[in-house]
Point group: C3
Chain length 470, copies 3
């Protein structure tokens, strides 16, 4: 919904009545798609081509001419050519003098060339005003106009007037324009269409790895063990029971992995006695993907909730209900039918902590939506993400402890001497919570705060300027 340029279209809006001609260099797909779209928006379009008479089918109503002729006929030239073919433009420098060149090109992969295509173009034709634009749009969009994720046109360039002209055209095509500043931003714009969730790769790998590991681990512990020992086949458990053991485990571990780097960083700063030395790279990278880790953890928690809630619907469970011996997935030891108040307490707190934890989880997820987090001041954001985040971690860990309770005492919990899954997944969160607790101790907290306010063990700063951060 944002449009961000200052329009300079002349007061006598002749532009609206009699369309100025636009020129497109290159009759490839992009050129034709763009031309078609421009025609539909009421522009006159002229193509510049190497061989104007055999350049394939062009949108009806447009004509093709030599590059130089086409350039002369319009003030705005779209360069829909591969960067490899740019060099010939150098010879057109005189005709392109003072023209606005719109570079729409993308590369097949990142860092293919030392400089951005647009900067290269500017170097070739110094007299022209190069504007990088439209390259973040799909050809489908260029042909058919804006759609959901394709409403925004990013542009950058060194000449304000040139950008305004391009922006004007873009809005006429129905797009929303976002000015990204000078041509130095061109590389960023050219890399944008190439990215496919770069910051999600690492967290996804971690998630997949953990899931696979625990799946096989529990498969062996539960299904295979039962088959080998008792000889009865409970492989159907793979679908729900196992999934519902793996998902919460992965979710809890990943949630704690969001908060581990922060704790490590704090101890590192305490140890170094300063905050002015950079962290090791692995820690930096880790910190940068905390948001993604958290969101994946939320996804797993969400699945865990659904898997838990459909338990009563399972044939397996319904079938059990009808029999004298009631055995349930969660609390296996309870076979006596006498009412045990302590058990009721435990079962209910187990469920409550889980629900409250999940509720906070969802809240964290909502605040990490771009539009929500942008509306928050960083004080509010850090309050939610750190204070509420640790509360979430605490609830979920408690939830797991209540689940385990005294299971770890019974030898039956250690088939083939393997630890139960919930014990394994409790390690990291417990460590994080303990470390965080240590950091909250007055002595630790005080010196950490001082360090974060710029204090340096080696030499103190004059007070007048120190507490500026407070």
């Amino acid at each position: 919904m944002e449009s961000t340029f200052v329009s300079l279209c002349p007061l006598n809006s002749a532009a609206a009545t009699e369309p100025e001609p636009l020129c497109i260099f290159g009759t490839g797909d992009l050129g034709r798609s763009l031309g078609q779209r421009l025609l539909q928006s009421g522009y006159r379009v002229v193509y510049g081509s190497r061989k104007p008479h055999s350049c394939g089918p062009l949108p009806p109503g447009t004509q093709a001419m030599s590059h130089s002729a086409a350039a002369q006929s319009a003030a705005l030239v779209f360069i829909c050519i591969h960067r490899e073919h740019y060099n010939f433009l150098e010879t057109l420098a005189p005709q392109l003098q003072g023209k606005v060149l719109v570079d729409v090109s993308n590369n097949l992969k990142k860092n293919l060339y030392p400089e951005a295509n647009a900067e290269y173009l500017q170097r070739l034709v110094p007299g022209a005003h190069v504007v990088k634009a439209f390259n973040t749009l799909s050809a489908w969009t260029l042909q058919n106009g804006p759609s959901d994720a394709n409403r925004q046109v990013y542009l950058c360039g060194n000449s304000a007037e040139a950008k305004q002209a391009v922006a004007e055209t873009a809005t006429k095509l129905g797009f929303t324009v976002l000015d990204r500043g000078s041509l130095c931003a061109a590389r960023e714009l050219e890399d944008f269409p190439l990215q496919l969730f770069p910051e999600w790769r690492l967290p996804l790998r971690i998630a997949v790895g953990l899931t696979a590991f625990f799946y096989f681990y529990l498969l062996i512990r539960i299904v295979i063990y039962t088959y080998v020992q008792k000889g009865d086949d409970i492989s159907f458990r793979i679908m729900v029971s196992l999934a519902n053991k793996v998902f919460p485990i992965v979710s809890l571990i990943m949630l704690s992995l969001c908060y581990l780097p922060g704790v490590i960083a704090a101890f590192l700063q305490l140890y170094r006695g300063t905050k002015y030395r950079r962290f090791p790279d692995w820690l930096d990278r880790w910190m940068l993907c905390r948001k993604q880790l958290g969101l994946l953890a939320l996804a797993f928690a969400f699945l865990h909730v659904l898997y838990t809630l459909i338990i009563p619907q399972r044939y397996y469970v319904r079938n059990r209900i009808k029999h004298p011996v009631v055995l349930f997935i969660k609390i296996k030891e309870n076979k006596t039918s006498a009412f045990d108040s302590a058990l009721a307490w435990r079962s209910d707190s187990f469920l409550s902590t889980g629900i409250l934890g999940f509720g906070l989880y969802v809240l964290l997820g909502i605040t990490s939506l771009p539009s929500v987090s942008n509306a928050l001041s960083w004080r509010e954001f850090s309050f939610v993400q750190s204070k509420l985040g640790y509360l979430t971690l605490f609830f979920c860990t408690l939830h797991t402890y209540l689940y385990g309770w005294n299971k770890f005492l019974k030898p039956t919990s250690y088939p083939w001497y393997t630890l139960p899954g919930y014990l394994l997944c409790l390690i990291v969160p417990t460590v994080v919570l303990v470390l965080k607790f240590l950091l909250l101790l007055p002595c630790m907290d005080r010196s950490l705060t001082r360090i974060r306010q710029g204090w340096d063990r080696t030499n103190k700063v004059d007070d007048g300027e120190k507490s500026l951060l407070a």
Copy 2:
């Protein structure tokens, strides 16, 4: 949170100390609301009226004078008059020479006039700088200041300076300004307040139609049939059981309707051998409402999930549990109490596919939030919406197949020779998935890719420019 203009308020911020006077033409509701608001923000306000002495109650502290006198007293004039009464402004042209005229008017319905009100105004007073602004706000907002959905003021005009002046005023009133470019955008701004979910109409009609049809269909099949044949009244099923059969059916059909047009389009392109011919209108319209279809499908899926999860809470079900003969909504055939492992497999996979499908469903919904989809490159967006979308469709279809399983074999499934609902709702998704599968076959895929890259069966394009899209 965005404000998008370059402020030009003078360096000596006299503006802040001694308010410049603003003029409002028209003492109607809008005029008074606006005036009140301006006063509260510390402006001096002067009204221009046809009959200054009998123009109804004005906000205290303002005075009314003749239009010409008022015009002279201020550099900025808000036109709070109906378009029908604009004509008299022509006579004021000399006094309005060089003034900034803010057109806040809206029309009662779209396309009432050949040109936008603001453009009409500009034509009447060519010497003035017309700016379209504030018309997207409710009068309530104009009177009481920004509220949630009313934070943004869209403006457009041909003079940058004029727009900056208006923008400055708007920010002083606490609004966020979005520049929509030249006056040509006025029509768009004037149509904005009139729209009431235009792009939702068709999908909503489809949803309502499908729901109504299946409701009655199942009502006859289940409730009425039982009543006629066995004579017992199970009308209470309408509330939950029936709803929980209808919602998933509608959801699945609508989800597949999101992906059907894409498949049709692909086959159309293959058949035509080019992508440069426009699709038939019905297909275009269909494609444009895919997002809304999907979101409605998600809503129905959401209800289906809730309806399913509360099944154990139903008196009807709880009552059954206490009786020897346990019959359940989902798996009626299972009356034997011997444990059937195959049945367990089926029931669990049925539930799992449902959960995973719903999880992906929700993911698709989240990525279609404006702020999220804007943060995605079109490559990421299309990956999510198409790849994950088809996966979702696949899971949900599988979920339904597992639900049906071998029901269709039993004659009892065909009361009055009618097909079960789940069979009817499987038709469309199956077709879509099969067609999609065909498109993924190497031969099809290859030629489709070539067409999408601009290849044309009639005549090939030179390679140099072709693969620009890849």
Copy 3:
């Protein structure tokens, strides 16, 4: 993703190759953090300090000199000093003549000083171009670059060129720039980092108050009463059963509190016969926090749903299932095992209304996301928030009535002569719905509409301008 300035970086992008020097006044934490970041972005940094030779550790590669010397060396000066120490800048006025001064300071609390720091600075050095910027960022961000909630740099100032220069720097640092207009906006920017959910305070207090009250009320009614009378300990109910009684109660009350002020306002306008008199402050304040009230209500409803859905998982319930006497939380009176169709109807409609109510609830929550509500016209937004809002309230109230049904007839529902919770929570919503119904009566509706369109009982406005709002 938005950047909003017009770049003016010179055509020959020398800036990119040979970095211009930037000057930082103040070697405190903020100064050093900022300097470090600027260095990493390829700028040359010069510090101005009172005692250049003993100003603590500076980032390697920077040098410290006297304020005046530093000022001369750069065109852009970051003022990283406390406002208390600004006064000495007055003496530097000649050296700072024409320079761009970036005021990054914040105060420890609001309204500490009569004027904004930036405005004070401008007054001290009238010859310089003061720009307020970067103050909304955390020092962590200034040191380590943009992160999620810290991508945006708000700036304001009276000189467009000065703002462009700062904006250019900010984008080079990887930030997104939002221009907030002239220096008059400085105070707003300075207050921004201090706020911690101001508009959430009141709603949160209400929520906590209501929750606490009903918790204790039901604790006495249910747990303590049972213990005193029958002597058996059902304290475990606190965890789930009680919570699941309190949350829906609070949720319904808070939802109705969203709509009560609107109804009161309407009656007030009807009584006064005009809309041009301001509402009492308490009503204004109330209306301003309706959104927050609604979102909290949604949160409670969400918890209620989860608590309800896990009921079958509770040990307490599972334990009951295995016994002849089945008694459930929701419908206690049903101990007979004969199937009661009326009861089935009631139980199912009770669940259905709850689900549909919750579904609409969620829809309301989604439309109040900033990015969604910004995409809606105010007509659409008010349609959703008022029409659908009342429908939600209606469903939830009906849900509660169906829950209560004829309980209120049985004396056992009044232990110690206390009313059941659901009766208490039905009061407000019922009142709201009744009042709203009255307002929908033709006579009321007509006169209210006329008042809202600017009609005034004292004196009518001429029709020509009245219906401008319609």
